[in-house]
């Protein structure tokens, strides 16, 4: 177990190195110059050159990369070109909204996905099953920015129940903070529930077809216990994979939802730093997202072990 864990953690190193190289090359190959963006469209070539020098952008690419990598290994991701704050701090600041949004969105997705999936499986081919299928299809098909804007129009503009956009940190009161996050969590949770509905249904149907379920029923065990105690637990492994992947994707920043609701999260940070070519921030964020992705996958693999004692590493 320990060896497995160490191995997986060590595998993180080459993954991150590849990510770092690819990201570095991509952003430097993309046209666009942070100095020119910062100075505005009326800047003189000399001014652009001076700023490029100050930012270290006139050095050879390899030198820039080695310098950056050296610092990154020591945990220093550099300074943002624009706000002149440490990138690590910037990422941390933008993480809170994203973590809160991800937790809320995945809760919404699970609260809808698991019950709807179970109902679908239990009442297979009934109108309930058809209804949940329709819900899942709709969730998967609706573009998230459209859903987000529709929720804003309904709940903020017409009904006036919730704020239309923006963010309050939990430090200003958890209730206020959650009010601001509710609509984005719904906009993000509803589409993400689709996959969970379908996976729960098919996974549960597979399990229910097993002999031990038939045995349980033959023993006279109640249907509720059969489904929730015997079947669902065994059906959870594939569901957990989907939930883990979804959560990892959400933690990488729900770009569209964060933009629509103007949440200062990781997704927003990625978009704005790409648009203004804030190289240190782009590199830092992508590296962090890659790390989280790998770590959450590892966590999911470890959870298999908790849910299903037969799994051995």
């Amino acid at each position: 177990m320990l060896a497995y864990l160490t191995g997986r953690l060590l595998a993180l190193v080459p993954v991150l190195l590849v990510v770092a190289v690819v990201v570095f090359l991509l952003i430097h190959l993309t046209p666009g110059d942070p100095a020119r963006v910062l100075l505005g469209q009326d800047a003189t070539p000399e001014q652009v050159q001076t700023l490029r020098h100050a930012l270290g952008l006139d050095r050879p690419l390899v030198a820039q990369f080695v310098l950056w990598l050296g610092r990154a290994l020591r945990g220093d991701l550099g300074l943002s070109f624009f706000q002149h704050v440490p990138v690590t701090g910037d990422i941390l600041q933008h993480s809170t909204p994203t973590i809160m949004l991800s937790l809320m969105a995945i809760s919404v997705a699970l609260l809808i996905g698991i019950p709807a999936g179970v109902i679908s499986a239990v009442f297979r081919n009934s109108w309930l099953d058809q209804g949940s299928l329709a819900l899942a299809m709709l969730g998967a098909a609706v573009p998230s920015f459209w859903l987000g804007l529709s929720l804003i129009v309904l709940f903020a503009v017409d009904l006036g129940w919730l704020p239309s956009s923006g963010y309050r940190p939990p430090g200003e009161g958890l209730g206020v903070s959650l009010r601001y996050l509710l609509l984005p969590a719904l906009a993000l949770g509803l589409p993400n529930s689709s996959l969970i509905i379908r996976f729960t249904r098919s996974s549960l149907l597979d399990v229910v077809a097993n002999d031990y379920i038939r045995t349980a029923r033959a023993k006279g065990v109640g249907e509720r216990i059969v489904i929730f105690h015997h079947a669902l637990r065994n059906a959870l492994v594939p569901i957990l994979t989907v939930v883990g992947l979804t959560f990892a994707a959400l933690m990488g920043g729900a770009v569209v939802t964060e933009t629509v609701f103007s949440l200062p999260g990781i997704g927003q940070l990625v978009v704005s730093s790409v648009l203004r070519r804030d190289y240190p921030v782009i590199q830092g964020v992508i590296l962090m997202v890659a790390t989280i992705y790998v770590l959450i996958n590892l966590l999911v693999d470890l959870l298999y072990f908790v849910i299903d004692p037969r799994v051995k590493y």
């Binding site: 469209q41 600041q93 920015f145 804003i152």
Partner: protein, 518 residues
């Protein structure tokens, strides 16, 4: 007779009552203080150093913080702001600025001549606009505590317009901050304005609070000039990048003002009882700018072919929709300004494909692709380019439209080998000398000897009447040399909550003298 007397006295009583009532009304109508103004902006500012960039968003957010020696009134005439008065020597080479006394900075220190000298000198180095002005500046010095003397190498008539423009601004900051900052990033935002900087949380907001010791000018408010009073306690600028979210936020009452509204939403918003859409006039002009340094468009005839091929009405109609939101016409300046002129009209909105084809032939055009840079980041740039490109193709041009992010456009357009045309726009500026496209270093490089000579003459002529006579020649040259295509002018849309009183749209939002809703 008796009845008439009664009527008369009744009338007198009535008049007195009305007068008294109006008196009471006028005292009770003192503007409300307190609360917060919440403004949804198009995004996150790149920097709050208003000197170092010409980005409009930075100008808007820092306008209540920093002030300049001069500013503009509602008719875009120069008015003193931090300056009390100024004199100009006979030869036009020496300007003497007398400063207002007892004007405190946000850090409590009084503004004096040494702060102004340090600020102007930094502006001359760091600001894209200041750098071009300082090529003509011999020296700037303080002769006493409240007097600054600026000596020029050559006469430069638009000097005060440059110093007064709140964009790439000659913002006055304390000397210590100028010295400590130099060409590096500005870290403290200390000005003399009615609001002081409080907090910037990236991607959440920039917060300003009232500066209680603000020294206001005595004159009545007029445009950016006159008395500035911070009525709201706080001003928040929120970055809300989605326009639909900005609109919804004003409708729901979460924001008081939303900037950068898309033109196609205008018709619907006019009917909405919760909001007031306002148009920013004078408008911004759309430009298709030619690369005159390298490539096929160095040929004037070919540029003229593009110019005469285009039909501006469909370009503007498809881009901005509602006819209230744009206008056609050759004049860069609107009718009520001294700069209005139809010079060059013969080459504007010609829409003569046969003539374009002739010009293409004379230019020896052989179907080389016209590489045209545009972006979807600004919807109007993309739409107008699509329509114009289709018209050019109809006339026989081969167009290679390259759609990039704005940062990509900025990058490529500075490289002469990369393009033939790019799409952009130019906001209203109070003096033609401030129009960047006349600057030979501006991408596209309009560097013709005739233009340079005329532009120099225009800048060196001090007499306003003589300058007004020179300007039509410059505008005409812009069309005859086809340095750019100017399809027309459009008006930005700003949305305000109906509950917001005494607020008027302007190119750079004015947030002082505006009482908050909440």
């Amino acid at each position: 007779m008796q009845a008439r007397k009664v009527l008369e006295s009744l009338l007198i009583v009535l008049v007195i009552a009305v007068l008294a009532g109006s008196l009471v009304f006028s005292t009770s109508a003192a503007p409300r203080r307190g609360g917060a103004l919440r403004i949804a902006e198009i995004g996150e500012p790149l920097t709050l150093d208003t000197v170092a960039t010409t980005a409009d968003l930075t100008s808007i957010i820092t306008l209540p913080i920093f002030e300049e020696l001069f500013t503009f009134d509602a008719n875009f005439r120069i008015q003193p702001m931090l300056a009390e008065s100024y004199t100009q020597s006979k030869d036009g080479l020496t300007y003497t600025f007398v400063l207002r006394k007892n004007v405190p900075f946000h850090n409590g220190k009084e503004m004096t001549a040494e702060d102004v000298v340090a600020s102007l000198d930094r502006w001359g180095k760091v600001s894209p606009r200041g750098a071009s002005v300082y090529k003509k500046v011999e020296s700037t010095s303080a002769t006493d505590r409240y007097t600054v003397v600026m000596k020029l190498k050559e006469s430069f008539a638009p000097l005060l317009s440059f110093i007064g423009l709140p964009n790439g601004a000659a913002a006055i900051m304390p000397k210590e901050i100028n010295d400590a900052t130099g060409a590096g990033p500005l870290k403290q935002y200390i000005g003399t304005g009615p609001y002081k900087f409080a907090e910037w949380i990236p991607d959440r907001y920039v917060k300003l609070v009232r500066f209680d010791a603000y020294a206001a000018r005595p004159e009545a408010p007029n445009g950016y000039a006159g008395k500035r009073e911070a009525l709201a306690d706080e001003v928040f600028f929120y970055p809300v990048s989605q326009v639909a979210t900005r609109i919804a936020g004003v409708q729901s009452g979460d924001y008081d003002i939303a900037d950068g509204i898309n033109q196609d939403a205008y018709a619907q918003l006019v009917k909405d009882p919760r909001v007031t859409p306002g148009l920013i006039k004078p408008g911004t002009f759309l430009t298709f700018f030619f690369n005159k340094k390298q490539g096929i468009m160095t040929n004037e005839k070919l540029r003229q072919a593009v110019e005469v091929a285009l039909d501006m009405q469909p370009i503007m109609k498809a881009t901005f929709g509602n006819p209230e939101l744009y206008s056609l016409g050759p004049s860069i300046y609107p009718q009520d300004t001294p700069w209005y002129t139809t010079a060059g009209a013969a080459m504007y909105n010609v829409h003569d494909v046969a003539r374009a084809k002739r010009l293409m032939q004379e230019a020896g055009y052989n179907g080389e692709p016209v590489r045209w840079l545009t972006t979807q980041q600004y919807d109007y740039m993309f739409k107008s380019t699509v329509v114009a490109a289709a018209q050019l193709q109809h006339a026989g041009f081969k167009v290679d439209m390259q759609v990039l992010e704005w940062a990509g456009v900025l990058d490529h357009r500075s490289k002469p080998a990369d393009y033939d045309l790019f799409t952009t726009s130019h906001g209203f500026v109070p003096d033609p000398a401030l129009i960047t496209v006349f600057n030979a270093a501006y991408p596209g490089w309009w560097d013709s000897p005739e233009k340079n000579k005329l532009f120099d003459e225009f800048n060196q002529t001090a007499d306003p009447a003589a300058r007004a006579r020179l300007w039509p020649k410059l505008q005409e040259l812009l069309y005859t040399q086809a340095s750019l295509v100017r399809p027309g002018e459009f008006y930005g849309v700003v949305l305000a909550s109906k509950a917001l009183k005494d607020w008027r749209p302007s190119y750079w939002l004015v947030v002082w003298n505006v009482p908050a809703v909440k």
